[in-house]
């Protein structure tokens, strides 16, 4: 038990070091750019999964990312806030606060009804930023968002510097999400998912936990929204609209909802795929849907279940072979 824990930690550390070294020695802008997008999506998918842990299938995630992105953009270009880091923090906190505000009524609904409110929320946010032209720039969005202020002598201009910043944000986010999940709080989320009225009967305030899960997820979604806008220095209303929200959910399911690693794997592969398959760009939603179907039918535990399956198959093969020859 402790051994697997340590070896898992070891693998994560090796992976992290490899990632940092890659950032240091590789200087192809395009690949580093995709790397940043991968890391943003990893955090989005992992934070979405945390909400799912409490038994709530959320489709509100894109709304929180949009909120976070516009919060940073408006603060830095319209309000004239001087610190980009403060703006980034506000992006995350604002998304979490809004998650609490809408979570209190929304989390009273169960199952598909809760999910529907998420779609509604994303549409409201998208329509709001489209219509509120004086502040949000309408359909054109906002441009010229400043890059993050230099910190500890590091200037954020090159792709490499953003790649490193993305690593830091991703690692911090994942460590926090992991700590929450393996604590009593994560266990309580799972309990609520299995039987929420039973959870109430043993003294768990299920409303508080459901709203908390929603708000924690919202926090990281807002954080990534703020980071995204400071990275690409522009935002428009639909970058994180309905379809991207669905994609986030697909990352989670394709990677494997039941494991912490799942959404990370799903987000990484499905962010890289459209880049590799550029000619198929306009077919992407269809391709994603096809992948989702294949996974649901053939590999319901997600891609992280694949090694286990293959080992199982191999064992079967090696067992059968002696029989065949004898």
């Amino acid at each position: 038990m402790n051994k697997t824990k340590r070896s898992r930690f070891g693998i994560a550390a090796v992976f992290l070091v490899a990632l940092v070294l890659f950032g240091v020695f590789y200087s192809g802008d395009y690949v580093l750019h995709v790397g940043v997008l991968v890391m943003i999506n990893v955090v989005l998918a992992s934070s979405l999964r945390l909400i799912n842990l409490s038994g709530q299938l959320s489709l509100a995630h894109g709304g929180f990312v949009t909120l976070g992105a516009y919060a940073s953009a408006v603060l830095l270009t319209k309000v004239g806030m001087s610190s980009t880091w403060l703006a980034l923090l506000i992006s995350a906190v604002l998304a979490a606060v809004i998650a609490v505000v809408i979570g209190i009524p929304f989390t009273r609904l169960k199952g598909i009804y809760f999910t529907i409110t998420g779609i509604f929320f994303v549409q409201v946010i998208v329509l709001t930023v489209q219509q509120w032209r004086s502040i949000t720039g309408g359909n054109g969005g906002l441009q010229g968002v400043p890059r993050p202020d230099s910190i500890l002598g590091i200037e954020f201009a090159s792709k490499t510097s953003f790649f490193m910043l993305a690593i830091v944000l991703m690692v911090v986010s994942l460590v926090i999400l992991w700590a929450i999940e393996r604590s009593r709080i994560g266990m309580t989320f799972l309990g609520i998912k299995q039987a929420d009225s039973l959870a109430e009967s043993i003294g768990i305030n299920t409303t508080v936990y459901k709203v908390a899960a929603f708000a924690i997820g919202g926090f990281f979604a807002g954080l990534m929204g703020g980071f995204y806008v400071q990275y690409v220095s522009a935002v428009d209303p639909t970058v994180f609209g309905f379809l991207p929200t669905i994609y986030m959910l697909i990352y989670v399911i394709v990677g494997g909802e039941d494991s912490f690693l799942g959404p990370m794997v799903g987000a990484a592969l499905l962010t890289i795929l459209p880049e590799v398959a550029r000619p198929l760009q306009s077919w992407m939603p269809l391709l994603f849907a096809a992948i989702l179907m294949v996974i649901i039918f053939l590999l319901p535990e997600g891609l992280v279940g694949l090694p286990h399956r293959l080992v199982g198959l191999l064992k079967k093969r090696t067992k059968e072979q002696p029989d065949a020859t004898s």
Binding site: I176, A179, I180, S183, R184, I185, M187, T188, L190, G191, Q194, A195, S197, L198, A199, E200, S201, I202, G203, I204, N205, T206
Partner: protein
């Protein structure tokens, strides 16, 4: 300990529970019996916050808990079990009880996330208590079995274990014997008796009159949501209203 005054619940025009009074003193083992549909479970749901009463008042240890949320009432020490197999099916038996043990852990979220020293110590204590409780309800050897895969009788005992982990002052058991075989019924009755002798106050819903008669010292009999009798087993047995409710009469059929 528990005072119920004029507790009423209307579902549309139907009076599921009609002005029921009940008072339980510390250390009592009270049976709540009545035919199917008498309103026993509805009464439980009203007491524990799962349903909001139409009128009436529930006072627990001097505090008005009428219409409060279930988790609040459980936190005050009035803990219930369920009639259906209410367990966390994906957890192991032990994990079920550990989750229930956190109600009085006194840990805040930072301690839990950061796994502070206090947190690790409390979690250790809860773990040990969960093991003890599993032994107590007779499924100590199934600690690491997935709860959903347990046999029916074991699930029921696990359900009682969940309630016990909440350190109840008043334990409400909703038909704990339902669906059990004869040996399991005996074990459960022995357990209920033992908990009571150890000082726990218990309110027991039971459909099985004979079994209930063998453990409870006082009864409340409901029929069509109304109290039709209250008293000792002897008084209940000889009460013509109770006999009529259970056996029915020709007049009822008409």
């Amino acid at each position: 300990m528990l005072r119920v005054k004029g507790l009423t619940k209307n579902f549309g025009g139907l009076k599921a529970v009609g002005s029921v009074d009940l008072s339980i003193e510390p250390g009592q083992l009270v049976g709540l019996i009545g035919p199917n549909g008498a309103g026993k479970t509805t009464f439980f749901n009203l007491l524990t916050g799962y349903l909001r009463p139409s009128s009436g008042k529930v006072t627990f240890e001097g505090k008005n808990v009428t219409g409060k949320k279930p988790h609040y009432i459980a936190g005050r020490g009035m803990v219930r079990s369920f009639q259906q197999n209410a367990i966390f099916a994906d957890f192991t038996a032990l994990e079920n009880l550990i989750l229930a043990g956190h109600i009085h852990s006194g840990l805040n979220c930072w301690q839990a996330i950061l796994k502070t020293k206090t947190c690790r110590r409390r979690e250790r204590e809860i773990y040990e208590k969960a093991e003890e409780t599993l032994e107590l309800v007779g499924i100590g050897d199934l600690a690491n079995a997935q709860a959903g895969s347990l046999a029916h009788g074991h699930k029921r005992m696990l359900g009682i274990g969940l309630a016990l982990m909440c350190e109840p002052k008043l334990l409400l058991l909703d038909e704990p014997l339902a669906g059990m075989n004869i040996a399991e019924v005996d074990d459960t009755l022995v357990l209920v008796r033992r908990l009571w002798e150890d000082g726990l106050t218990i309110l027991l819903i039971e459909h099985n009159m004979r079994a209930a008669m063998s453990v409870c010292e006082r009864f409340l009999v409901l029929n069509f949501g109304r109290t039709i009798a209250e008293g000792t087993p002897e008084e209940i047995r000889s009460n013509p209203e109770v006999v009529k409710a259970y056996l029915g009469t020709a007049a009822d059929a008409a």
